[in-house]
Amino acid sequence: MMAPLTAGPFTHSARSVPATMGWVILALLPATLFGLWHYGWPAIFLFLVTIIAAIVAEALSLKIAAKPIKPALLDGSALLTGWLLALTLPPWAPWWIGVVGSLLAIVIAKQLFGGIGQNLFNPAMVARVALLISFPLEMTQFYAPMPLFSPSAPGFLEGLQITFFGVGHYDAVSSATTLGYLKTELGREIPLSQAESGVASISSMAWGDSAGSLGEGSALLLLLGGGWLLYKKVISWHIPVAMLLTILILAALFHWIDSERYVGPLYHLLSAATMLGAFFIATDLVTSPVTRTGQILFGAGCGLLTFVIRTWAGYPEGVAFAVLLMNGATPLIDHYIKPRIYGRDRHGQPLNRRSPEES
């Protein structure tokens, strides 16, 4: 249809899709390494299985669709999807959780929509939510952290057994996440001041010394990675700041109204799913709005829904649901929120229109 290239520019910014994905992965590295160390061999195996499954799923889908495989694999997006998914899984989940999750993410949520750039919903979050609904038991089985090489931690072989054969007797150390525990206690009408004594302290939440998903260990390391992405201009501040600020304001407001029934803002912010969501999931370029104003709206929506789901809905954690719901709203946001065109007003009419006889 189109004539050969005859237009510039003949120079280009250093940005590219693989570089963008690479920066994001690099930013995830501190929190990931911490998580892998923190939860030991089973976590390492699950992480590897999930990522390999994601890449294989991408290659197979492309092959079936007769699309070129190599450039798509090299763009790093499948790796990133698998990586993000792994970070949201319980660290000791069985291997098939990772495999099924990766297949859901890549095949259903990404390739069936037309591949990179075409998907409406964040693939990793689609997979996480589908897993949570389909396999609630496996997806809510958390263990207190047992760092690699610590006396109680499973060794290499034991780790293999836990991940691949479901063998291992660690029921004794199973533990709820902080928000999960608080939600259960509040549900039993136990006042917060009393329930709080049963959970990890705020500072250990920040450092990541509590039970949780693989990559949600340390809010501070995720914040560090996110800050670096901001500094590198891979993401802009609009989504994370809008999301965090909304959560902060809502949590503070309700906590101030009734401090015995509403968890304080720090619990909300330092629950590491918040940081992972705000900097790495909600900021997914493909599934978030393209304008700055739209991004602020989107981020605020994610924050609002996260708070609402955590506080009043059936799940202790709401980031994944919130992001998916806002993903669904992205086309609408992009339809209604557009930049003002130079020389035109908001309605697209030329500025201070001259009278018809002049024009």
């Binding site: 249809m1 189109m2 004539a3 290239l5 005859t6 237009a7 510039g8 520019p9 003949f10 120079t11 280009h12 910014s13 940005r15 590219s16 899709v17 570089a19 963008t20 450039p71 763009d75 997006s77 591949g115 990179i116 750039g117 075409q118 802009s236 370029l285 493909v286 599934t287 978030s288 709005p289 393209v290 304008t291 700055r292 991004q295 992009d334 557009k338 930049p339 003002r340 065109i341 130079y342 020389g343 035109r344 697209g348 030329p350 500025l351 201070n352 229109r353 001259r354 024009s359």
Partner: protein
Amino acid sequence: MLKLFTLRGGVHPEERKQLSSGVAVESLPLSPLLHIPLQQHIGAAATPMVHRGERVKKGQMIARSQGMISAPVHAPTSGRVMGVGGYPAHHPSGLLVTTVTLQPDGEEAWHPAIEPLDDPFALSPKELAGRVAAAGIVGMGGATFPSAVKLNLRQRYQLHTLVINGAECEPYLTCDDRLMQERSEAVISGVRLMAHALGVERVTIAIERNKPEATVAMQQAAAQWPEITIVSIPTQYPMGSEKHLLQILTGEEIPARGLTADIGVVVHNVATAFAVHEALYAGRPLISRLVTVSGGAVRQPKNLEVPLGTPLQDLIDYCGGLSEQPAQLISGGPMMGQPIPSLRVPLVKGSNGVLALTSREVSADTPRPCIRCGGCVEACPCGLVPLEMAAHIRSGNLDSSVKLGLLDCIGCGSCSWACPSHIPLVHHFNYAKGELAARQRQQHQQGETKRLAEARSARMEAIKRAKREQLLKRKREAEAKKRAEEALL
């Protein structure tokens, strides 16, 4: 200090001006053959006035302007006309255009009509504009709009300010920078003449901050003229776009489809001001220009003063030739310049750069799918949503892309530059604009055909009616005659 306003969007491409910015302008020796195209401006092509074999003098008009928006063309030197005919155009297509080929005789004999003027300020604004028109001066920043048309705007608009564009925001290009450093007096003189022609009381000369020497030189040259202000503006592409330059300077926007004159301002390029000075003080028409020859494949990047019509190969040769096979030859800057099919094509009035870029410099990556990152939205200085416009164009829905503002796109290339998927967005927009223009032409043609057909049937109808009336009249006359005869009987 003048308060500056901010520009939304825009990008910061790597400047690469250091390749040629330190090199003083050199004059290129005459080439054995000059090829002078008759279309070196926006608007109707000039009409040739010379024939094969004819001898012409330097500065002699060899093609006259035709129509409202057009410019005449002059002989860059004295010599013999070798032919008037098709020659590869200074255009990506390389299609043939009507070109006067001139063999210089080396005498450089000026045409007798060219004489210095004592006091151009004694001329009326209209006469001044007339001389600028006769000198064939067009916008030298690359847009090549006939300058005299812009100087005559005061007849229809209330003007108060002349803005001189010395931004030179394209990477690599430094010829305006050198011009302002080396010929600042002449530039200021041209600026004052233009202000006189326009009847404005204020002049603002805007220079990007990456040209401090030029700024100082221009400040010194303009020191005695209080009406002239030199303003340092941020280095930001596309500052050379007159609408965006005005936004920085005034905070005002030009209404869509409007002109800068709508807010009382006229913008001219610094090189145009220099050409105006030459035309009015020395009487010289536009027959040469400054151009930057640069790029990684050029051995010694330089700024040259070159007679129009010189084959680009001669410019490259003068700069030590090419050190490697260039990946891209460009006329103009790397953002908005045009690819050129070969170095045979001649230098024209709008050429501010000849670039031979290496494959490392052009970074030609194969396009990937759009990941909706919004980089193009952020980069667009016109507030458009390039990714959506391109998606509509790809699916053949041109009308939707127009609704999104396709026709407000200035083609600056910021979006393509920023796109991490290397999607040639500007190419999509150019294609769509071309399609729309073709569609409009077709519609116009259909309308014209319909109008002619209707006119014809109306004419036929009128003839028939006239015949019928004639017949009736004759019949009535006959009857009257008959009655009269009967009465007589």
